[in-house]
Symmetry: C2
Subunit: 208 residues, 2 copies
DNA sequence: CCATGTAGGTACAGTGAGTGAAGTTAATAC
DNA sequence: GTATTAACTTCACTCACTGTACCTACATGG
């Protein structure tokens, strides 16, 4: 339909090979999540997932480093998005309020299928571990961003890491504890962070 | 030497069987940590650890659920200690300042061998995961303690969990980031928590 | 449009963590 | 002194994950 002049660099149409690879990956992740929730994580073997996706078991590991990783197929993309949002603010924005708005928009991207994953997540240690690694990537991103704005020094490094861990801790808690009661994580996170950090998280409150 | 009248309940001398079991466990953990740091985590097999301790590989798993768990043999006892300290305060102590003092004393129990573990810990994902599970136990303990003092409600539950996660996040960050620079974790944690939570963590500062 | 490199996949064989079951021995209980 | 049972062993098994060699179809440039 749309013949493409192949260009040396990026931004051309994906080639047939690339599409096929992505499709295989997507299919593996989809069947993995489906099987995990239908029959349980431990009751599902990698062989089974691969078979459902119509590839060999070996191929599974060409796409995901571990069985658990297939439950978080868009992890890297989400972290990248977050980092982009984090650095997207006007030059002299207060970094904490920029952080807050990056977190806020982050909640909006939650797909409904995430809910399925949350259930699995709370039950299966391997998946909790995988999710915790996710958190560490966010923490690193936040710490790096804060250090960038506050300047490099031992003191800021420790402070930045502490704040990053604390913030992600609050987000995780409101998502899991709050999620169980149908509380809006955006409002809860904002309120708690506001009490902890004061003004930068204060206003506007974006409350529900 | 000391013949013991066996009593039905606790607090008698440990029997020979109990002693043997503890000794096997201790030996397994010791050799595990030694081998992990001498030749690397992935280069050490459970078989090897068991052989070094003079038992069969199967026995290893009668003492530890996973290979990684052997690197944290005193985990449960430490958490128990922490919980005890947490609830040891005078009846109407401010829960946050009680939390703070429980954390403070916690740092003192650090054995020198912990340092070896920290190095391993930062390098090996499996051990990081194991440590993160540790953190979750502390978080649960803190959240439960806060809820106990603040009363049960959805709001306090979310808040308590958020604060617990945040506090542990700060501790983890000061231990790992601060540890690299030889910063005293007690002082750094106290200072950061003080800025975050204000008065309850304020005074006395216990600075180095 | 053809030659050729290569990306995505397969087949096979292996390692090592972790589990279930049945058996051995020696401390303990009665 | 006999019966229990806790700690351990042996054996056989499953399954996650890896290394290697190979295959095949798409891609690319001459």
């Amino acid at each position: 339909m749309e013949p493409v002049a192949p260009s040396k660099k990026a931004d051309r149409q994906p080639t047939s090979r690339e599409q096929q690879r992505l499709e295989t990956r997507r299919s593996l992740a989809e069947h993995a999540i489906r099987l995990f929730s239908e029959q349980g994580y431990y009751e599902t073997t990698v062989e089974e997932i691969a078979a459902a996706a119509g590839v060999s078991a070996r191929t599974f590991f060409l796409h995901f480093p571990t069985k658990a990783a297939a439950a978080f197929p868009d992890h890297d993309a989400r972290v990248q998005d977050f980092i982009t949002r984090l650095h997207a603010g006007a030059p002299h924005t207060n970094p904490l309020s920029q952080l807050r708005s990056a977190l806020d928009t982050g909640f909006e991207g939650e797909s409904p299928s995430r809910l399925v994953r949350y259930r699995l997540l709370s039950e299966v240690p391997e998946l909790r571990d995988e999710d915790a690694r996710t958190d560490r990537d966010y923490e690193k991103a936040i710490a790096a961003y804060l250090i960038l704005h506050w300047g490099e020094s031992i003191e800021t490094e420790v402070r930045a890491n502490a704040i990053a861990n604390a913030v992600i801790g609050v987000v995780r808690a409101t998502l899991s504890a709050g999620g169980a009661y149908g509380i809006d994580p955006r409002a809860a996170t904002a309120e708690i962070l506001w009490r902890m950090f004061g003004s930068p998280f204060e206003d506007p409150l974006h409350s529900v």
